[in-house]
């Protein structure tokens, strides 16, 4: 195990979850056309995460772009396909991401005080999000 750092942010959807990080500094959309419902695979043209799955991960991204349909697409991913991330960390949470994480209870947090989340969390780090307390614990991949 590598070193562990503790970050602080604004709780959006309250809860606790942990998992392996998948990280981008770009915006994302959870519409079915952009992230598949069945496997959570990113299909956005030219996106750094294109072809990778966010299912079961702690997902770090900028904010929500594209269609407002993302809310109900995310709900289907959560209720039917079980393909959502375990937790979400955004630089700035859009009310779209706020809406779908609050409704489904997937923990989410934004406005990390210590800096930009993609500068502090790397792909493959183990991340525990405690959005009850507004805390993110990051164990760096050794």
């Amino acid at each position: 195990m590598g070193e562990t750092i503790t970050l602080h942010g604004r709780p959006i959807s309250r809860g606790v979850a942990e998992g392996e990080a998948i990280v981008t500094d770009k915006a994302l959309s959870f519409i079915a056309a952009a992230i598949t419902n069945d496997e959570g695979i990113v299909r956005m043209d030219g996106h750094p995460l294109q072809g990778r799955s966010v299912m079961g991960k702690v997902l770090v991204y900028d904010t929500d772009i594209y269609s407002t349909g993302a809310g109900l697409s995310f709900y289907t991913k959560w209720k039917i396909d079980k393909s959502t991330p375990r937790a979400i960390i955004c630089r700035e949470m859009h009310n779209i991401g706020g809406g779908f994480t609050i409704y489904t209870g997937v923990p989410s947090i934004d406005r990390i005080r210590e800096g930009l989340p993609w500068d502090l969390i790397g792909d493959g780090d183990w991340v525990r999000v405690d959005s009850e307390r507004g805390i993110v614990e990051v164990t760096k991949r050794s």
Partner: protein, 425 residues
């Protein structure tokens, strides 16, 4: 967040389980986004298409019906996944018609006007200045904020119906006038402005301009100077299409157009900050935008589409006139999108027949974004379009490739089977 007596009653379940369920979500939203109070909602617009919402979305709406939910404010709905007037013209996946019909059934129970349009602001849901909206559909919310002065965030498709059922919504983001102030400045070269738009070019030019503005502003409120006085409705519709495929928010302060931007100083809340981030938009920027929106150089096209956002009746007239007595090339599909109300008008005016005689199709209530496009078109399909919004939302791994151009260039591509750009190339 302060709750009024009405909020507390609804939260306590005095008005039924659907209202209580909605209020519980809205209170959590308000607390997360640091709203100070709940306010009355005036208008709602919901997601309709099965392709986007999937089975979970269908169950979500049916659960609201089971709990006795009903919209407390005027509510319209976005396009669906199918064209029920032209079922035989497309290859729909098994089970789609039944599921899409169940969504319509749920909407009837909830009291939603079945408009199936992405342009409610031009039809049956026209908000007034200062009204609070819970609308899905970024282009519509963008127009409502930027042109009409109504107040709406780019609402997510879960929260919008819940706000409509509660009749209340937390006041944060663009619902709060303190956030309706410019944060960056876009200046349009007068020489460029003179060359933008006109017959056959409105949609492509102004959607590309919207993309340039939106990509620069991203999650800030842009103040835009240099637009013509008396901008046409269709031009403004096209600029506001940038709200979601480019601009994260849904407010552009268009100086001389937006009611909150009579002057550039007013748009910035008093004076223009000396160090404001600026973008100068000239003909080179427009050329780059057109180039960026094509991801193939292939001339041969399989499909030509227009109508994102949906075409107005005047734009449908324009298509019919551009087609003239020509016919669409064998093997090419030319599809034009509008809603059912405008389609009825087009039928009465003989436009639907003129377009059909040319071998093109005026659809109702759907578009390539809402339709199950991966099922219909493979990655080798080349689509020519005059819509930046459609191009960006539908692009991606496993999806068709695109040529971007004006309506005139698209109509010529439909007639000849060859896309040969004549504008900004």
């Amino acid at each position: 967040m302060r709750l009024g007596d009405i909020d507390k009653r609804r939260l306590d379940g005095e008005e039924g389980p659907a209202v209580r369920h909605a209020m519980e979500h809205l209170v959590k939203m308000g607390e997360a986004f640091e709203a100070e109070e709940m306010v009355d909602l005036h208008s709602c617009h919901l997601l309709s298409d099965y392709r986007t919402m999937g089975e979970g979305g269908l169950q979500f709406y049916e659960q609201l019906v089971e709990w006795g939910g009903a919209m407390l404010v005027p509510t319209t709905c976005d396009p669906m996944s199918m064209d029920l007037k032209n079922m035989d013209k497309f290859d729909w996946p098994e089970g789609y018609p039944e599921r899409q019909t169940r969504i319509s059934d749920a909407f009837r129970e909830l009291g939603v006007a079945l408009t199936f349009s992405c342009t409610p602001h031009l039809g049956h849901n026209v908000p007034k200045f200062g009204e609070n909206l819970a609308w899905v559909e970024g282009n519509a919310t963008g127009y409502a904020n930027s042109v009409l002065g109504a107040r709406g965030n780019r609402e997510d498709s879960i929260t919008a119906p819940l706000a409509g059922i509660a009749g209340r919504t937390p006041k944060f983001g663009l619902l709060d006038p303190r956030n309706r102030v410019g944060e960056c400045l876009v200046e349009i070269d007068p020489n460029l402005m003179e060359r933008l738009g006109g017959d056959g070019r409105r949609c492509a030019d102004f959607e590309a301009l919207g993309m340039i503005i939106g990509d620069f502003a991203y999650d800030r409120v842009p103040v835009v100077v240099g637009l013509r006085p008396n901008m046409e409705t269709e031009e403004l519709k096209a600029i506001c299409a940038a709200c979601s495929p480019a601009l994260i928010g849904t407010l552009m302060l268009l100086v001389g157009v937006s009611p909150e931007a009579n002057t550039v100083e007013e748009a910035f809340g008093g004076e223009v900050p000396r160090d404001v981030d600026r973008l100068w938009v000239d003909a080179d920027a427009m050329r780059r935008a057109y180039e960026q929106l094509s991801n193939t150089a292939k001339e041969d096209v399989d499909v030509v589409m227009s109508g994102c956002p949906f075409k107005t009746i005047y734009e449908i007239q324009e298509v019919a006139e551009l087609l003239g007595d020509n016919t669409v090339e064998d093997g090419v599909k030319f599809i034009i999108h509008t809603d059912r109300v405008t389609h009825v008008l087009a039928e009465h005016m003989g436009l639907t027949d003129r377009i059909a005689r040319a071998g093109a199709l005026l659809t109702t209530d759907t578009c390539e974004y809402c339709m199950p496009i991966e099922h219909m078109y493979g990655p080798d399909t080349v689509i020519a379009a005059d819509s930046m919004k459609m191009r960006r939302l539908v692009a991606g791994e496993g999806k068709p490739t695109w040529r971007y151009g004006t309506l005139t260039d698209c109509v010529n591509a439909a007639i000849t089977g060859k896309f040969r750009p004549t504008h900004w190339n």
